[in-house]
Each structure stands twice: as C-alpha cells, then as structure tokens.
Amino acid sequence: MRISTSIPSSEITPEKFYFNRRAFLAGSLGAAASLLPLSAAASSLDYKPGPYGTDEAWSTFADITTYNNFYEFGTGKADPSNNSANFKPTPWTISVDGLVSKPTTFDLDDLMALELEERVYRMRCVEAWSMVIPWIGFPLSRILDKVEPLGSAKYVAFETVVRPEEIPGQRGRLFQTLDWPYVEGLRLDEACHPLTILATGLYGRTLLNQNGAPVRLVVPWKYGFKGIKSIVRITLVENQPETTWRNMAPQEYGFFANVNPAVDHPRWSQATEIRIGEGGFFGAARRETLPFNGYGDEVASLYDGMDLRSFY
C-alpha cells in the first residue's frame, strides 16, 4: 500500500462532475435520489489540504451520500438519505466532559474555527465494502487538548443525539434495531492519534444528514461502525466504555474493530472487499483488505504486544 503524504489533494481526483446533477442522479435510482435536498449540501467550507493523502480515486459524491449505514434512519443503504430530511443539524453543541480539568461545551462555530483540513481516507465497512472519502475536519486531539484530560482518563466515550421526533428509527416501535443512543469509544491514545478526526464536512461542503451531520468521528484504520455520527457528547472515562455493536453481538463486533483481513466476521470473510462504485456487476473486482486498512505504518505500534485475534 502506498501512503503518500506529499500529494496535494487538488491533484488526487478530477472532481469535475461531483455536483453535476445528471451525474449525481445517474448513480442512483431516479425518483428517490431526486428528492435529496441538494441545497442542504450547498454550504461550502474553508479548509486547507491535510496530511495522509492517497492516490486512489475518490468515491463519487452520489455513492458517499446514498450508500450509508446509519440505523437511526433505517437499515437499508438508501434509508439514511431518504429518511433524514427532517433532522436539524443546526444549532448544535457537543459537550466534552468526564475526567477533564475544563469541561467545555462547543458549538458549531467553535468547531469550524479549529482550522479545518481535508483528509482523504479509505473507509472500510465491517460488511466488506469500502470507499475513498475526502473528509473535511480536524484532529480530535485538538479539542481533547482544550479540555485537558486528567491522568486518570484512559478512554473516550462518544454519544449520538437522540431525537425521536426527527429520527424515525429512534421512535419506539416493535422493531427497535439497536439501543439508542448509539455509543462508541476509543482508547485515549487512539483518540489522540493524528489520523483520528472529527469531520464536519466532505467534498468541501458541510456534512449531509445521512453522513452524520453536523459532526462525526472518523477513525480510518477501524471498521466504519466506529465512526459514530451526529455526536452530542464526548466523555473521558477510566474504564472501557460500552459500544453499540459490541453490546448487540459481542462475538461479531469487538471494541477495537481494527480492520484486519486475518480475522473473519463469523458470517463472512474480511480478507477482501468490494470498492463501491468500482467495477460493476460482472467481475466487480474484490480487493485485498489491508491490515489496519493500509494505515499500519502509522498505527500498528499502538497495539504492540496485543493479540489482535482476541482483541478484534
């Protein structure tokens, strides 16, 4: 895997068509996609190119915004884009609390003022598919530094918003798919790693609701479900926090969830992946999945001495 940190993002992909409405619709099933609030995508962001580029082609804006797992809005891949129109990502605050000396509540303006940068990352879903996504965001460590974690803080716990009025999947019906709020967690050293970002946008614009607006976690060496969306609370804690998918099926989804081709999900192999939008129906080429999703040089040392088969 080549991880080139030197390529300026402008050279990575000809992004000529990404807001072309026809190209956008061509990739999706007509009627449903045409209802997408494109205008909501419109606010563009100020950002500079960031490190950790990749020369792989970006996934299309259409794929990134219509092929999503965000169970709060439904279990189908198109559900989040179809069912999230009533969700209001502004105004918004994130409270950062727990074992810190300066608990702080940040609003969106505070976050946008943190010098946004573009990070083009591979995203590997636990379901054996992947994308390449040009996120806009900032290292999580920037806000952790501001709140000054105490020595006793060992983990960081994250929590998604709960608003059943706006989020159809959270309305108590017979089939509650998961327990809300969705919760996730990282070890403090993982949270402080420079690859770990909070994203407020992608493709140069603010996040759409289906991608976790207004702010979400991105940890590119872990399976996508670690990237908790629409975050309202970040808490520094001493013990390993609960995480949603692990609560749901601990034998299938671990706390660490590092991308690892050598450890299968019980129901499918993790050795290969399908790149969404690549190839097609016949011979959609399977790619080899890389340890740590190709970020091993940067992060493997975080797990020295750990048996990644038992800590999956």
């Binding site: 990739g27 999706s28 099933l29 996609a33 259409a62 794929d63 219509t66 092929y67 169970y71 279990t75 891949k77 198109a78 379901e127 598919w129 017979l174 089939f175 798919t177 998961l178 749901m248 019980p266 129901r267 499918w268 192999s269 050795a271 399908i274 969404i276 939008g277 097609g280 129906f281 016949f282 011979g283 959609a284 399977r286």
Partner: protein, 211 residues
C-alpha cells in the same frame, strides 16, 4: 366458462410473470443501474423472491382449505420458480459475489452456519425439482408425497437462513419467518380442522333436513 386453452396458458403466465423480478433486476444490474453494491442487491433480491415463492407454494393448501381459493394447478409452477430463484441466488453468490473463488466458497459453506443451512436447502430442493413432473408422480406413487414433505424443512431453513444473514432482524425477515412457521404448523392441524368443518357441514345439513 373459461376456454380450454386457458388452463395451461395461465400456468405459463405464472412462469412468465414469476421470472420478471429476476430479469428486471439482472438488466438493472448489468446496465449499471443498481446503486452501490449491485451484486449484493441482486443476490438479496433473488433470495427474497426464492423465499416468497416457497411460502406461496406452501400457502396453496391452507388457502383452499380455509378460504376456498383453489390455486392447486399453479402449485408446481410456484415450487419450481422457488427452485430456480434459489439456484440463481446460489449462482450469483458463486459467480458474481465470490467470483468462483472455490476455496473461499467451500470455507463459507462449511464454516458459516447460515450458509450451511442455505446450501442444505438447495440440496433438498434438487430432488423436489427433479420429481415435479407427472411421470415422477406416477412412478413414485405414495412415496412422492413423503418426499415432498421436505418442502416444510426447506421453507423453515430458508427463513432461518434469512434471519441469520442480516445484521439485525427487522420486520421483513421476522414476517417471513413467522409465515414459514404458520404454514408448517398448519399441516398437523389440517385434518382436525377439515374434520371439524365436515362435521359442522353434516350437522347443518341434518338440521336443515329435519325441518
């Protein structure tokens, strides 16, 4: 009164209509009109239609007993459609999804319970499909009925395979699973229900005749 040709023609119509979902989605997939993961969508769709046809096949008898709707002449077509959809689902898995990676396929079938169950269902479906013709019915006599009781196991296996394949059990797999259980549970209840209906008919008949 329906014309004589309508009987066979209506059965061919069921086959014709039954293959439309597969053909339509194959066309969408092949022409790049399925968004995201086209192969998975196609694989899922074939599996769901296989299950629908299995359920429809087993619904023929209770519909006739309880609602007086007689679809018996379509039952073979529905069963064979189920078989073809499972076969297409399997072929999609082998060719488009795993791209004939035989070691990986072997590992999947041996190691992953939901795929083992799916495979068992396909294997059980083979003798049923091969004996779904008049010649085999005549040749096998009473053994034909015993053999085709495998359909109950297959529909339960298929529904279980579906609930195990998904990450969380939503309304749809739950519904299919419930229907499969109801349709199979109806079988042991059938003769008591039919006897009760017959008794009631005889009783009403005798009271009317005494008046």
């Amino acid at each position: 009164m329906q014309p004589r040709w309508w009987g066979p023609a209506s059965i061919w119509l069921v086959y014709g209509v039954g293959f439309i979902p597969a053909i339509w989605y194959f066309w969408l997939g092949a022409s790049g009109q399925l968004p995201g993961n086209a192969v998975k969508i196609f694989e899922h769709l074939l599996g769901v239609w296989a299950l629908r046809f299995l359920l429809a096949t087993l619904a023929v008898t209770p519909l006739r007993d309880l609602a007086g709707i007689n679809l018996l002449r379509f039952r073979r077509a529905l069963g064979l459609l189920a078989f073809w959809y499972v076969l297409m689902h399997f072929a999609t898995y082998m060719l488009l999804d795993q791209q004939l990676n035989l070691p990986e396929i072997g590992k999947d079938i041996a190691k992953r319970p939901f795929i083992t169950i799916g495979m068992a269902c396909l294997v059980f479906l083979l003798p049923l499909a091969l004996t779904s013709n008049n010649w085999a019915i005549r040749r096998l006599g009473p053994r034909w009925r015993s053999l085709h009781k495998l359909a109950y196991l297959i529909v339960l296996g298929g529904a279980l395979h579906y609930t195990m394949a998904v990450k969380v059990v939503t309304a749809e797999p739950f519904l299919y699973f419930t229907l499969a259980i109801l349709l199979v549970a109806y079988r042991p209840l059938r003769s008591p229900i039919l006897n009760w209906k017959k008794d009631r008919r005889l009783k009403t008949a005798s009271t009317t005749s005494r008046q």
